[in-house]
């Protein structure tokens, strides 16, 4: 029943979409992380003029489907062709590639900033006060105390978000980008062998996700050096 030659035939075709999948994911995750850190830090501000717009942005992008966000960027903004041309942005919004990246980035920014905001809040207040009392400036406190601890704390949740983004890149196929899922859909429609194509494409995604999970676990291990081999007297003092 299972035909291995068919697997060998479709695997290279599906793998041809992997660079695009990884490109979409990597670009939006990196850009999204930078924006998420910025928004999480900005929300430490007391001013409602800073906090409320960010809250609104986060609520909208977390509360609506990614597909709507991609369609709104690609088809919705495409309606404003003349205005976008006038400010020189039409070249960006004309391309499904950039529209997908913009939508994916904003989506992951919203989720990421919430994860990081929670992580920053989880840093014990005593540590911040200690840092200030030894004379660290606000900048240095963030740089050496709050952010390293917050990143460590955020890592497991951020890892989940990264996996969700890898899955999210599949929606780019709906705006004509031929990444792994797009190619898979084409192959299914051509051959009507949905099960085999699903196994093959699914294996590609699972391998990718597995590699990411292992890499993040290694990063987490590296970032929690201070939690290992800790003398017992120190743990009492720290808690």
């Amino acid at each position: 029943m299972i035909d291995f030659s068919f697997f060998l035939e479709i695997l290279p075709k599906l793998l041809a979409g992997l660079p695009l999948t990884m490109e979409l994911a990597l670009t939006s995750i990196v850009a999204g992380f930078v924006l998420a850190v910025t928004l999480a830090l900005a929300q430490q501000s007391e001013s409602p003029f800073v906090v409320l717009p960010i809250r609104g942005f986060v609520a909208v992008f977390r509360g609506t489907p990614l597909l709507v966000q991609i369609f709104l960027t690609y088809y919705g903004l495409g309606q404003f062709r003349h205005q976008l041309s006038a400010i020189g942005l039409w070249a960006v919004f004309r391309e499904p590639y950039w529209c997908a990246i913009i939508a994916l980035t904003l989506n992951t920014t919203a989720y990421g900033s919430e994860i990081l905001r929670g992580a920053i809040q989880s840093v014990p207040r005593g540590l911040v006060e200690a840092a200030r009392s030894v004379g660290l400036s606000t900048y240095l406190t963030y740089r050496h105390v709050i952010l390293p601890l917050a990143f460590r704390q955020a890592l497991p949740s951020y890892g989940n978000e990264i996996i969700l983004m890898i899955k999210g890149t599949s929606l780019a196929s709906i705006v004509t980008l031929m990444e792994v899922t797009g190619i898979a859909q084409g192959l299914i429609a051509q051959t009507y062998r949905a099960f085999e194509v699903f196994i093959c494409a699914g294996a590609i995604y699972l391998t990718l996700n597995f590699a990411i999970i292992r890499a993040l676990a290694a990063l987490e291990y590296w970032m929690s050096r201070h939690l290992r081999h800790r003398p017992s007297t120190m743990s009492d003092a720290a808690s």
Partner: protein, 237 residues
């Protein structure tokens, strides 16, 4: 702006009624998918908590595959795979031609399978959060297996699972938009149809986004109330 009101209105030429109808399809699809997903998730969680290696392996495999593979692929698998299976069944019964699977049923099943994989983790975590003393006490009272589950374990499990289930519900609601790719006229698909026929994609996708947001916040608030306001909430120490 006047144009937007006319397009989204309820009078002749307005799409308001169609969008609201489609939104109710989205809610129905999500609710049914979530409920069926609770069955799959419950079975998978039970499998992962069993001593049998085979059951644990199967349950872990189910959770890993459907949480790791893009939801679109799962939807394509069920839609095309289901159609091929139905067509060959039709041919073996002497029929001819192509038989498509119904989009609503396929969509519900897809959401159930995907959300089940996520719900399994929630139920498993909630089960493990129950104090061992509760199991021991239930045994000591002489309750049999079914009574222990029904009267002692389930009520507590539900309390611990509720916050996680709220997250999965939000995921399900947004995932239901993907069912539009197999042609089911839910909110997303209806917005596409309206956008196509009026050439006003911006207005209709914004309207769809707002409707999703409204459904998400109303149902999110309901989960919040269940969690916080219910008399049977977990008392924090």
């Amino acid at each position: 702006m006047v144009d937007a009101f006319r397009l989204l209105g309820f009078q002749h030429g307005g799409w308001g009624a169609a969008l609201l109808m489609a939104a109710s399809v989205t809610v129905l699809l999500s609710v049914l998918g979530f409920a069926l997903g609770a069955v799959f998730g419950g079975l998978a969680a039970a499998g992962r908590l069993r001593n049998s290696k085979v059951l644990r392996f199967l349950a872990l495999g189910y959770c890993t595959v459907f949480r790791g593979v893009p939801d679109l692929l799962t939807i394509y698998l069920l839609y095309y795979g289901g159609s091929v299976a139905l067509t060959s069944l039709g041919h073996s019964l002497g029929g001819s031609g192509f038989v498509g699977v119904p989009a609503f049923a396929t969509g519900t099943l897809a959401i159930a399978i995907i959300s089940g994989a996520y719900q399994a983790e929630v139920y498993r975590g909630a089960y493990l959060a129950i104090d061992q003393g509760q199991h021991d006490a239930a045994c000591a009272l002489g309750l049999n297996r079914l009574q222990r589950l029904r009267q002692v374990i389930f009520p507590q499990l539900l309390r611990y699972a509720l916050p996680g289930l709220g997250n999965v519900w939000q995921l399900v609601l947004k995932d239901s938009s993907l069912i539009s790719v197999i042609g089911l006229v839910e909110l997303m698909r209806q917005a596409q149809i309206a956008a196509g026929s009026t050439r006003e994609p911006f207005i209709f996708y914004i309207a769809a986004a707002l409707l999703y947001l409204a459904i998400a916040s109303v149902t999110g608030h309901a989960f919040y109330r269940l969690e916080r306001k219910a008399p049977w909430r977990v008392r924090s120490a």
